[in-house]
């Protein structure tokens, strides 16, 4: 085990995979010479500069549609690209490539064409970046058949899941969170350390309430659960889904059958958010186990405002989760 930051864990995953497989390369804006906008690719350009005509860590113009197209076409031709978005907000100009092309090619080809591409970068809200830069859109991608959707919440998960993403033969939407890049954690050094997709992780064990979340909200769930435990003795189980597609409902249902109460939490808009799907699936699969209606925590249905107090009110925090736990225990 080594202690490292989330961003470093991502870099290590990419570097190890590039060393293992010459077909893996990284492209995106400012990933090479500038060392990455969030320093995730720091040092990688220097390391791989001499290989493949200097193309293994490739700076691109501000052309997201072109970047996704380049990565997807290269994947169809046998390479294993990792394309970085400076942030996921900028992937919106590449939506046609991602949704109508990358996601569907394997199916449209009757399974004859593989698209082993990873699209990654920071997602999520915060830092007063306001409406166009501050948003969580993971349920858009989870809605599309053909895309795997991954959102790690810790450094170890970041490494293990990214390695799995790179070795996966399908397109993977890999959403990091800018608010997590500097978080430190223990990370296994084994270059074969991989975390399979579709396996949720119980980040805090408990018997009274099940809290289901992912990405940056997981730590807020844990702190809210700790607070409730201290105050009332009620023990919440915090499940980190880690991947939305594939979705590990088995772990969720097992927990709900034990606790009989569920709270779903995410940063993206509550309205039509992934939590709606989760709640619905719990009702379908474990209705009889529930002692209370499921509580949902998500962003209010407004574009992200700039002003600090408004922004704070537009992003779920520990107190919102705490209140939801209180409501679900009645």
């Amino acid at each position: 085990m080594a202690i490292m930051r989330y961003a470093e864990a991502l870099r290590l995953a990419m570097t190890e995979e590039m060393e293992r497989d010459p077909n893996v390369f990284v492209c995106g804006e400012e990933v090479a010479q500038y060392q990455g906008t969030f320093r995730v690719t720091e040092g990688m350009y220097q390391k791989f500069q001499k290989e493949n005509h200097g193309l293994r860590v490739l700076d691109t113009p501000i052309s997201e549609a072109g970047i996704v197209g380049l990565a997807t076409g290269a994947a169809m031709s046998g390479l294993r690209p990792i394309a970085e978005f400076m942030t996921w907000s900028f992937a919106l100009v590449a939506m046609d490539q991602i949704i109508n092309h990358t996601a569907k090619i394997h199916y449209m080809s009757g399974g004859t064409c593989k698209v082993p591409v990873v699209l990654r970068g920071p997602a999520g809200a915060g830092n007063q970046l306001s409406a166009q830069h501050s948003q969580s859109l993971e349920s858009w991608y989870a809605h599309i058949p053909g895309l795997k959707v991954v959102l790690p919440s810790t450094a170890a998960d970041a490494k293990g899941l990214l390695k799995t993403a790179i070795r996966d033969d399908n397109p993977v939407i890999f959403m990091e969170h800018a608010g997590l890049y500097q978080q430190r954690g223990e990370v296994p050094e084994d270059p074969e350390f991989m975390i399979p997709f579709g396996v949720a992780d119980i980040k805090r064990a408990g018997k009274d309430v099940t809290i289901i979340s992912y990405s940056n909200q997981v730590r807020f769930c844990i702190s809210a659960a700790d607070k409730i435990a201290e105050e009332t003795g009620i023990e919440c189980e915090v499940i980190d889904l880690r991947t939305l597609i594939p979705l590990d409902m088995a772990t969720v249902i097992r927990s709900v059958e034990k606790t009989h109460r569920a709270v779903v939490v995410h940063e993206e808009w509550k309205s039509v958010g992934f939590g709606a799907e989760l709640a619905s699936r719990i009702y379908e699969e474990a209705f009889d186990a529930l002692d209370a209606p499921i509580e949902r925590v998500g962003g209010p249905f407004v574009p992200m405002p700039y002003s600090k107090p408004l922004e704070r009110a537009a992003i779920p925090h520990e107190e919102d989760i705490y209140a939801a736990i209180k409501r679900v225990i009645g």
């Binding site: 804006e29 400012e30 010479q33 500038y34 060392q35 906008t37 700076d59 691109t60 113009p61 501000i62 052309s63 549609a65 072109g66 907000s89 900028f90 919106l92 100009v93 830092n127 007063q128 970046l129 306001s130 409406a131 166009q132 830069h133 209010p300 249905f301 407004v302 574009p303 405002p305 700039y306 002003s307 600090k308 107090p309 408004l310 009110a313 537009a314």
Partner: protein, 336 residues
């Protein structure tokens, strides 16, 4: 610099206009200089992109707008708003995230709006405002107005597909859109040579989209003014689109995170220093004084006025209330 000084004061530009150009450039500069301090103190947040070094472009062009004209910008938009006459108090209060800001604190630095003056906003997605601008110009043509829409964007935006779709449509429908490419040599940490297969942007646009275009020294406010006067006259007569590349230089970081250490990855201090010698304000001051068009004292007085306006704007912003919690839910839709 000496070359500029040898010129005569241009007879066709009124004395007041010369001082006005100086005033606008100084106002923008003095407005942005203290921002770092307030950003560090947590009074501002998000991304704040400075126009420092590029003032001559907004100052040279935007005052030529007439009522009914419209304009759009990228996230680097404080200078454009100030050149248009948007109250510095409103711009500063927006940066402070206060209810009295140009967008009531909803938008922030990257999204200044002044609809009353025809500023249809600053936008954060590279290239995103350019298609909107063609739509704004389309509306002018549609109604038969003799107005034009100017749109300001960076060299990096030239690599966005939507920008090219928009330029083609402008050339096709012949709408009065003035595309102002502020070529400051870099898109964040990537130089033009490293992001563009064709660095001659005038050639690229004029050949591809059947739009007339030219380059101007964007650090020379008088040149920008002269060229813009001619272009706007031509556009008002013909209703046609036009492409203007203003060559300039951003000698501060791209944004707050692009500090001196980061900048070493893409440019040298010598390069920045050499460019600072072309500073649009310093060179214009030298020009005004050496041609006798203004005295140092006159310019200093203007500068003092600008500093006072900015000090007042900061005080106003800092004393303004934050938006009410209820306002979070306002403006998602307009009231019926």
């Amino acid at each position: 610099m000496t070359k500029v000084a040898e010129k005569e004061a241009p007879a066709h530009i009124k004395h007041e206009t010369l001082l006005e150009l100086m005033r606008i450039m100084l106002l923008i500069r003095r407005f942005e200089e203290p921002c770092d301090k307030y950003y560090r103190a947590g009074k501002m947040g998000g991304y704040v992109h400075y126009y420092i070094g590029q003032e001559a472009i907004a100052a040279g062009l935007i005052p030529l707008m007439i009522p009914g004209d419209t304009m759009l910008a990228s996230y680097r938009d404080h200078g454009h708003a100030l050149a248009l006459g948007t109250e510095p108090r409103k711009v500063m209060a927006e940066l402070f995230g206060r209810a009295t800001g140009a967008a009531g604190g909803k938008g922030g630095s990257m999204h200044i709006f002044d609809m009353a003056r025809g500023f249809l906003g600053g936008y954060g997605i590279v290239g995103g405002s350019v298609p909107l601008s063609v739509g704004a110009a389309f509306a002018l043509k549609y109604r038969g107005d003799k107005n034009i829409c100017s749109t300001f964007f960076g060299d990096g935006a030239m690599q966005q597909g939507s920008v090219h779709e928009a330029m083609n449509m402008a050339g096709l429908y012949k709408v009065p859109c003035l595309f102002v490419l502020e070529n400051n040599k870099y898109a964040m940490g990537t130089s033009v040579e490293r992001h563009s297969s064709q660095t001659d942007f005038v050639k690229r646009v004029t050949n591809a989209y059947n739009i007339q275009g030219e380059s101007v020294d964007g650090m020379d406010v008088l040149k920008v003014r002269e060229v813009s006067e001619r272009i706007l006259k031509h556009m008002r007569e013909t209703g046609e689109p036009y492409f203007l590349e203003a060559l300039c230089y951003r000698y501060v970081g791209h944004g707050y995170a692009d500090n001196a250490q980061q900048q070493k990855f893409y440019r040298t201090e010598e390069e920045i220093e050499a460019q600072r010698k072309r500073d649009p304000i310093d060179t214009f001051r030298h020009f005004l004084v050496s041609t006798g068009a203004a005295t140092e004292k006159q310019i200093d007085d203007i500068d003092d006025d600008c500093k006072a306006i900015v000090a007042d704007a900061i005080e106003f912003a800092d004393n303004s209330p934050f938006p009410s919690p209820d306002s979070l839910y306002e403006n998602v839709f307009t009231d019926m």
